[in-house]
Amino acid sequence: MDLSRRRLLMLLPAAAVAWKYVEAGTPESSPNYKLTDHWWAMLIDIPKCIGCGSCVRACANENDVPEGYFRTWVERYHVSDWKIERPEVESPNGGKQGFPPNEESGGKNFFVPKLCNHCSDSPCTQVCPVGATFSTPDGVVLVDKTYCLGCRYCVQACPYGCRFINPKTNTAEKCTLCYHRITKGLTTACCEVCPTGARQLADLKNPNDPIHEFLRTHTVQVLKPHMATGAKVFYNGMDGSVR
């Protein structure tokens, strides 16, 4: 074959493109999982949460979350008497080792687990300049870490403070709703280990999911509904002081 220098140079870009796909390979997809058949959400039953921190530890184990950063965390609220607009909130190490005993000082105390709300109109995906974070067709907000520039726009945009920059990869990171588990028919790591059933994964597109009955019969809220983010983490029995 007559391959001149000119021809070779012309072929090189095409070869580079082809080789990239040879190297990358295709990741193993979950069989029988249809993206369009699911619409994932979570239910958090605040009166059931005992603040043990099992969810925080499980999340860190399952997803290799770096120490000092959290994809989910637990907050302890203290609301004294009528000061509903000024709750005292603490979360020592994200509640990972539980909470130290607190003094009974009147008012009310309770725990609130937090995580990404997997908003259907999420502000974080709208600000990404490169399309590195997105809402999947089954309603989970994910980060493509090979595409993320680490510009931190999304970290600022999230009204719930659910994102951080991983110090090792310098890319944005957040709760994936254990996407690798839920696509295989398992529940999330945090829901799996919750001893009281305070956290439950829910599929809003599944008509047999108990979430529908629960939402009908309980007083349920989302966080910051005035921001119209379409949050899909539903809180049962949540006090008005929770931000």
Partner: protein, 178 residues
């Protein structure tokens, strides 16, 4: 208003000069064509094939997120083998507590039970995480101040973690009811 400068003197043109003008256009067109081809080739090289498959992002990223390895096997997997523990748990209040809440992530043990042994647990730490008294815990949840309740004695001296209620004959012996 009409331009009132000096009349522009046009040099005498031959036919050759007319062709030369067209040549300029052809060169420009060629440069633009090369630019366009370079753009298309570069774009194909830089933009991943699955970009735009579902939206303004790389479609393959979904499958990559789903390919992350699992650490927690899930209690249904545990219950497949440990049927004796399932029966025991059914008799007590810990029936709803999933295995890995206390035993930790054991997907590796579930994959290869022979070679991966679950670590021994420290009940003094584990039980207290849930049952240490805290005013923020819901009132229905059983809580103790461990220092007063056991005085440092390991919880499993009296309580069986899979069925935590102390049997009647034991309570009679120790003179304590729980």
């Amino acid at each position: 208003m009409r331009f009132s400068g000096p009349a522009i003197q046009t040099p005498a043109h031959g036919k050759n000069h007319v062709f030369k003008d067209i040549e300029h256009l052809i060169r420009l067109a060629a440069v633009m064509a090369i630019g366009l081809i370079a753009f298309i080739v570069l774009r194909a090289a830089v933009v991943p094939r699955s970009f735009g498959q579902y939206g303004h992002y790389r479609g393959a990223a979904i499958a990559e997120a789903a390919a992350h390895p699992i650490s927690y096997a899930g209690h249904t997997v545990c219950e497949g083998c440990h049927t004796d523990v399932v029966e025991q748990k059914k008799l007590g209040k810990h029936v709803g507590v999933p295995c890995e809440a206390c035993h930790g992530p054991l997907a590796k043990h579930a994959d290869d039970p022979a070679s991966v042994t679950p670590p021994k647990l420290d009940t003094a730490v584990l039980c207290a995480r849930c049952h240490e008294a805290n005013s923020a815990k819901p009132k229905w949840f059983p809580q103790v101040v461990t220092a007063d309740h056991s005085g440092g004695v390991a919880c499993d001296t009296c309580h069986q973690p899979h069925k935590p209620r102390i049997e009647d004959e034991k309570t009679a012996a120790s003179g304590r009811k729980n």
